[in-house]
Amino acid sequence: MPSLNSFPIRYKERPYGDSCILWVEAPEIARDARPGQFVTVGCDGLMLRRPLSVHRVKGEELALMFSATGTGTRWLSERKEGERLDLLGPLGRGFELPPSPTRILLIGGGKGIFPLIFLSEWALDRGFRVSLILGAKTREKLYPAHLVPCGVNLSLITEDGSYGDRGKVTDLLPLSGEVNYIYACGPSSMYREATLKLSGKEVQVLLEVRMGCGVGACHCCTINTKRGPKKVCQDGPTFLLDDILWDELSL
């Protein structure tokens, strides 16, 4: 059940480039949040709340990670420790893990890594073996390897070859060895590539569209899927890659 309240920012990090992490003390949300779920943040002077995936959870604190590239995220990146944030969450349907621990593969392209860190910590805590393919355009845009949780089997790749292998995350697919549970987050071009390389596998992906209410009331985020119309905020934001109709997502 989602909570709506204002919560204090306890710690702020600027790990690389224009990225920003806000650690917020939000016990109700931290307790209930699952990997893949999101919160919406009220931003002063802006009409629409900004949806942000949960990046990590530690005790009663919740980390929200974003790139300060738009009006809302720039405002958020200027918040200071001690200030309060108006949060609604956790919202949406998170990733589904298999019932018993096994090997899982995570694929993060660019900013898509933000919600996957929570998933990797969650899965490691429950005895899963986690492999992660992490990629970005350049070294400057790559999530720092030392922040990836210990125990994750990590492969790095950049499009310009400035760090790790040269190429796209999907160039490393399919990964050697048997893996049946795959979780991906990144731009839609990455999902299209993944569709070709992972056909027959069950891949859960996280989608991003413009949202209104976040609770399934306004129908602003509805997309058509192979299983009919779905509200990204409520039926997603996690979807099966196979169910996506690409023409719907030419955004």
Binding site: L48, G212, V215, A217, C218, L249
Partner: protein, 299 residues
């Protein structure tokens, strides 16, 4: 403190209603908003058949406003009667069903089907969805508004509210609806607008145009309410960018008997209940009832 107001035979515990389209069917907000405290809830626009709605993107932020183009996505009236109404029947808060048709006959069918359904406390005729082809100018055309209102009036005994679009001659449309038998008017719907996404070099919305709501349209809505309330003796429900108790008071002083809150709910999910508290505080401080202030600014 007495905040009660009346819309036809509907007694509202306070004048603050959730506007159609932003509040779903009410239950979506139950976990975070004390919805039973509201004056009324107007559900999403309902059509005869199920509608898929418009292509993405459907929402876009503008200065002090929101452009939306959902396109009346809804499961159709039968589903609303079968699935939603039984839930509403158990509620204290009255639920009004917003209906939208492609022609007068569809409005009549919708109204007849909803007549007598337990859990449905009223009908709001949407003459004015800016996002759907059909009788797009019906909210601006007094003859069409009269025709639809009169036909719907004959097919339902439920309180009948007609929701108007922006019109430079709102007084005429308002009078036509009153003459045709409307019990109240909602003034007004969002206003047609457009934005361009400069990154994609395309219209920002999948439907090209959308309805603009939020504080950006508030002065236009206040003016429309002022004119409509002067022209008719039935209650006018003010709607357009109401974000606070003070905004609601502005509408009531201009002549509104009640108000609807839409865009504000997207920014602040508890906007409706916050506005009710602020109105309560105002009445306590000023030692007045809300009924007493309706239309005081009319000169």
């Amino acid at each position: 403190m007495n905040l009660e107001v009346e819309i036809a035979e509907l007694k509202l515990q306070n004048p603050v209603m959730a506007a159609s389209g932003t509040f779903g069917y009410g239950a979506e907000y139950e976990p975070i908003v004390d919805i039973q405290k509201l004056g009324a809830i107007v559900c999403k626009g309902t059509t005869l058949e199920e509608r898929e709605g418009n292509p993405q993107p459907r929402i876009w932020e503008t200065p002090s406003g929101i452009l939306n183009s959902v396109g009346l996505e809804n499961p159709g009236v039968e589903e609303v009667i079968k699935v939603k109404a039984p839930i509403w029947e158990t509620w204290q808060v009255p639920v009004i069903v917003n209906i939208a048709g492609n022609d007068p006959e569809e409005y009549v069918l919708l109204a007849s089907k909803l007549d007598g359904v337990k859990g449905v406390s009223g009908i709001e005729v949407n003459l004015s969805c800016p996002n759907v082809e059909g009788i797009t100018d019906s909210g601006e055309n007094p003859e069409v508004a009269f025709d639809i209102t009169r036909k719907v009036r004959k097919s339902t005994s439920l309180p009948l509210i007609v929701k108007l679009s922006y019109s430079s001659h709102v007084s005429e449309v308002a009078s036509a609806c009153e003459e045709a038998g409307a019990d109240a008017l909602t003034v007004m719907n969002s206003i047609k607008g457009m934005a361009i996404d400069i990154k994609r070099r395309r219209p920002a919305l999948g439907n090209i145009t959308g309805g603009l709501s939020g504080p950006a349209i508030r002065p236009i809505a206040i003016h429309s309410v002022y004119q409509a309330a002067k022209a008719v003796s039935i209650p006018v429900i003010g709607c357009g960018g109401i974000f606070s108790g003070e905004d609601a008071l502005e509408f009531m002083l201009a002549g509104a008997t009640a108000v609807q809150v839409g865009a504000a709910t997207l920014s602040h999910p508890r906007a409706t209940v916050n506005i009710i508290h602020e109105l309560e505080e105002f009445c306590l401080k000023e030692n007045t009832s809300l009924k007493e202030i309706i239309g005081l600014a009319q000169i």
